[in-house]
Every structure is written in C-alpha cells, then in structure tokens.
C-alpha cells in the first residue's frame, strides 16, 4: 500500500511538473502547448487524488493522511533532485511507477 501510494504520487507530481513550462523544456526541450499543459495539469491532480486512497486504506484516516503527505514529500524530493541531473530518467520513471503501482496493492 505504501509503494502503491508512492508510485501514483510520483506519476501525478511528474505530470504536474511537466505542465509547467520550465520543466517541460528541461525534459522535451520545447514549451508545451496550452492544451498539453492543461491536460497534464488535470492528469497530475488526478494522480495526486488517486494516491490518497491506498494510504487511507492501508493506515486509516488518522495515520493515512500524514503518511500520504510524507509520501508526497519523498516523491517530490525525487523529482527535484532528478530534474537538474537526469531529466529523461525522471520522465522514464513515470510509466515505470504507474506499472508498479498495482502490485503492492495486490500483494496486500
């Protein structure tokens, strides 16, 4: 459950970052169109919203919410450190995270 939440949170934050001109340029070397930017933004918020349920299911509301915020911190810290040094790796980790997300939930 921890890993599911972390993976989805990472993917969501990545989409949110890519919706911003500066980080989109870091990864793709061009600015996003207004439409792309808006879509990425929506996808990002959706990802953040979807990363909350695993934490709450795993820990309950009282512990789940602080845990979720802590996981957001870890995922965002990974992005902040990856963008200046390895922007392509930050991008590639996104689909990997999404692929991994269901497994911890399935394993319990």
């Amino acid at each position: 459950m921890i890993l599911s939440s972390l993976c989805v949170a990472y993917a969501g934050l990545l989409a949110l970052a890519l919706a911003m001109d500066r980080h989109h340029e870091q990864v793709f070397a061009r600015r996003p169109s207004a439409r792309t930017s808006r879509l990425l933004g929506w996808a990002g918020w959706l990802g953040l919203a979807l990363s909350l349920p695993p934490a709450v299911i795993g820990w309950g509301w009282a512990v789940g919410i602080p845990a979720w915020l802590g996981l957001l911190t870890v995922a965002a810290a990974a992005l902040v450190l990856l963008f200046p040094h390895a922007p392509r790796a930050a991008l590639r980790l996104g689909p990997v995270a999404l692929l991994c997300a269901p497994f911890p939930a399935l394993l319990g």
Binding site: V63, G70, V74, V80
Partner: protein, 539 residues
C-alpha cells in the same frame, strides 16, 4: 509602499530565522534522530544484540520474574518488539509507595534465554531526544522556555517565509545547482521548506502544543483556580488507583499463554501484546493486565486499551473499550500524537525522519544563505572563502561552521565514545555526553581559527569519516555488525549501520563540494546577476 507588507515579512523571516536559527538547527537535528531513539539505544547497548525473541519469550519472562522478585507487589514486563530485542522488566517491592517511581527496580532480560543482561550504562538515543526540547545541564523549566521561544520564532519564520517566497508554489520543483551560489542555496532552502511544508507546520505547531500548559497556563489556572493537578486529572492524565494489598493466601499464577492467545485474537494485526502487568503475583488476589504493543489511533497511546485477567483462574475480569474523548482534546491529542510519533511503525518513522531531515536542511541552508547573500551583495563570487567582511557576517559564518558542520561531528563522536569508553567506567553515560559536548565545543572553537572554507571542509570531512566508519567500529566492538545483522535480516541493527554510512557519504559529498569550490568556478560575478530579480526576492 507597494511592497511594504512583503518587505516587512521578509525582514521578519530573516531575523526570526537567524537569531534562533542555530538553536533551531540543533533542535531539528537531534529531534530528527529522536524518531529512532529506541533503535539508537539498542545499537548503543551491544550487550543486547544477541537477544532473539521467540514465541515463548513472554512465558519465560514471567517465569524468570517468579525467581527474581517472588515477593514483589507488582511486576511490569515490556516485551520485545520491532524496535527492541530484549525484555525490560521492573518490579515494585511490597513496602514501596504505589506512585514512587524511584522505588522501582529494573532489569533487562535476554528474550531467548530469560537470563539477566547487564547492558552498559548509556543515555543512548534518549539523550538526543531530551536535548531536542530540554537541552542539557540547566533547569528543565528554563530550557523548555528557551526551546519554546525558539519554536515560536520558527512558526513566525515559516509563516513569514511563505509570504516572502510567494513564488514557492510556482517554483515547486525547481532546483538549479549549476547556477550561482546564491541561486542554488536559495533553491535548496526553498525546496527543503516547501517539499515538507505540511510537516514543518505540524511539527512546529504541535511542538508548541506540547508546551501548552507551560507557555500559556492562564486558561487552566483560571478554570481550575490554580489547581493544575485537578486539570491533569480531569484531562485523563490521572494516575492509576493504588493496587489492592496482597492477599495473605498464596496461590500459583495461572499460565499466561492462553491469556496472550486471547489478547492476540482481540488485537489482531496490531503487533499483539506489548506489556504485562502482574499485580500481587503468587497471591490469591493476583491480577494480570495486558496492553497492546501498538495503538491504531494517534491521539491516545496504546495505554488506554487493556485486558484484565484474574491471576489465579485466568478468567477475563474486564476489557474496557477506550473511552471517547471530547473533540477539542481529541484534536490536541492528535496533533501532539503526530509530533511524538509513538504510534508510528517503521515505515511511518522513516517518512517522519525524511521530513525531519528536510527541516534540518531548511534551517541549515537558511543560516548559510544569510551569509551567502551578504557576500554576494558585496560582489564576492567565492562565497566560501574568507575576505574582508563585517564582524557580524564573519561571526555568523563561523557559528554556521561550528553548528551546521560541527553538530553532526559531535553526534558521531557520541556514538564513537559509546564503543571506545571502557564498558565498566563509572558514570559512563555522563562521559559519553561529555564527549558529545567537548567535540561540539572543539568545533565551535576550531571554526574562528581557520579560514572559512578550510573550516567548513575540515569539519565536514571529519564528520564524514566518523559516520562512514561507524559500521567498522561496530564490527570491531560488537556482535551485531553488518556481517551478522544483514544475513539474519536484523534491520534494527543493520538500519543504524547503513544510515550512518549514508550520512557519512552525504557529508563527504558536501565536504568535496566545499573543498573543490565548484560554486566559485561557475558563479557569475555579482554585478552580472539580474540584481532586480534575485536581490529583490531575497531582501
């Protein structure tokens, strides 16, 4: 005065942050380690490393207590768990007063054999935990006031910081290590602050709440007419009623295994039984009370739930459910519970630890930024090196070295002292703490004697070496080294060694950066900085 409010917030942020910043750095650093204080204590007691719990540990401990203290009024047995491998026991002699903690006798038992262990005298992780809110060697109340005031300054710095750096949510993911020193320190400071912002707000505000009755006693004094004991009693911090006197008739204690099984059934998935309290053991009116190892809610410790059995027949006497709390108290307890993190399992503890590291980095980088910014404004490209500068700037820089680089060094020295001081030394725990403060004092004295960059590099390298070599020291002085702990899957011990290694590598990385002075080579001269953009944001 278009920017008047933001300017004044920036001023407030700078000075509330700087003046108590060195103290706050120490509070954040030691408080962050305190999330693992039990793990630290176990590492610092190598005598416990061979204790391996099994299914029979609880019964074995009860049996051993029958030999150690057959005539005691009460036994308390704390079972091993994820965070400690041995059994802690305490007992109260019949003639001692019920609430007299000093009369309690204590011992540590090997979980696998029941043998009494003699761990070395150490304050362990508790010293760092206590230091983060009570400092050391001064009256507790005074120290708590000092830390309370610093915590208030922290809250002011956080709120004014959010207003000052208004772009933080737009620049959420931005970190530009390749840019000017000023720019990258700024990014680092803001990233550490904003990434864990909910944590920073929670930990600071709840830290104040924990001091609530000390910092703001007036509401309680008014409502209870100055009788604080009455307030504590009513808020549920009441002391347990004195246990009944031992009955004169002797009766054997019921086997505990069925009671434990009953508790495991009721508290499934909660780590089982954490502790047993046996009152009047061996007497006709004996009772056995079980408490869960973990609480599944934050606001109340595991303590409020319990199972009480007749100690002779094994019949269940009561299993009171936890009482509901009023909403205001539940909210307060929830926030304070988050701060203390007693509810947290290892995964949660790591999340808190990482956020605590972010907080430590936030305070440390803020302190460094104060100096870097003033050097940039004077047109200095090399922000590490010495030069003619006002006394105040030099003082701040040297204090930064002695605290930001010197304190990790002192913590590492504390761990080294734990293994190098003879195990049987008189007042041993005090000596370990003495080594901590001597090392820190040496770092504070060393800083003004050296050129700035050399001072930084030397202290960072020393800290890096001491931390990175801790696993080797453990290998040389204890059985619980990585060669044993990793194959056995003993993450309690392996976690300490691996974390120490990681901290050593990080400090080494920082030392190399300072030593090589990458910042200076790439930094643009201050005159070429887009002064409007950068300096405006920083003032």
């Amino acid at each position: 005065m278009k920017d008047g409010f933001r300017q004044s917030m920036a001023w407030l942020h700078t000075w509330s942050g700087l003046l108590l910043g060195w103290l706050l750095f120490a509070v954040f650093l030691t408080g962050t380690i305190a999330y693992f204080r039990q793990e630290v204590t176990v590492w610092m007691q190598p005598e416990l490393h061979g204790s391996i719990p099994d299914a029979g540990t609880a019964e074995r401990a009860v049996e051993r207590m029958g030999q150690l203290a057959p005539d005691a009024a009460q036994w308390t047995i704390t079972l091993p768990g994820e965070r400690s491998p041995a059994v802690s026991v305490s007992w109260r002699p019949v003639d001692a007063k019920p609430n007299d903690r000093a009369a309690l006798k204590r011992a540590t038992l090997d979980a696998g054999t029941g043998a009494v262990l003699e761990p070395r005298d150490t304050a362990g992780g508790n010293f760092l935990y206590r230091f983060h809110f009570e400092l050391y060697g001064m009256p507790r109340e005074v120290a708590r006031w000092i830390v309370g005031i610093a915590t208030m300054a922290m809250l002011v710095a956080i709120v004014s910081g959010i207003i000052t750096h208004r772009r933080i949510f737009k620049d959420f993911f931005t970190f530009r290590p390749e840019k000017s020193a000023l720019r990258s320190w700024m990014d680092g400071h803001v990233a550490a602050a904003v990434l864990a912002l909910p944590f920073h707000l929670m930990i600071t505000y709840s830290g104040l709440l924990l001091f609530m009755t000390m910092l703001m006693p007036w509401a309680v004094d008014l409502a209870y007419d100055g009788n604080r004991q009455a307030y504590f009693a009513e808020s549920g911090f009441r002391r347990a009623p004195p246990p009944p006197r031992p009955a004169p008739q002797v009766a054997p204690l019921t086997p505990v295994a069925p009671l434990l099984a009953e508790a495991d059934r009721r508290w499934a998935g909660r780590g089982g039984v954490g502790s047993l309290t046996v009152t009047n053991p061996g007497r006709a009116n004996a009772t056995i009370e079980l408490r869960p190892a973990e609480s599944d809610s934050i606001g109340r410790g595991a303590a409020t739930e319990r199972l009480l059995f007749d100690g002779v027949t094994g019949r269940t006497l009561e299993a009171p459910p936890a009482e509901p709390q009023p909403a205001a108290m539940a909210t307060g307890n929830y926030l304070m519970g988050l701060h203390l993190a007693r509810f947290a399992g290892t995964g949660m503890r790591w999340l808190f630890f990482i956020s605590g590291v972010a907080g430590t980095v936030m305070v440390g980088s803020g302190l460094i930024l104060w100096v870097v910014k003033r050097r940039s404004q004077r047109g200095r490209a090399d922000t590490w090196a010495d030069g003619p500068e006002p006394f105040g700037h030099r003082l701040a820089d040297r204090l930064n070295i002695g605290v930001v680089a010197g304190l990790p060094l002192a913590v590492a020295a504390y761990f080294w002292a734990n293994r190098l001081l003879p195990a049987g030394l008189e007042e041993r725990a005090g000596w370990e703490i003495g080594v901590f403060f001597l090392t820190w004092a040496a770092a504070l004295l060393h800083a003004p004697l050296r050129p700035s960059r050399r001072g930084w590099a030397e202290q960072l390298w020393a800290g890096a070496a001491l931390f990175a070599l801790l696993p080797m020291l453990n290998l040389a002085t204890a059985a619980g080294h990585l060669g044993n702990s990793l194959p056995a899957g003993n993450w309690l011990l392996a976690g300490f060694d691996l974390t120490a290694l990681a901290v050593g590598l990080l400090l080494g990385f920082a030392a190399r950066k300072v030593g090589r002075n990458v910042f200076a080579r790439k930094a643009a001269p201050a005159s070429a900085l887009p002064a409007g953009a950068v300096v405006e944001e920083l003032t």
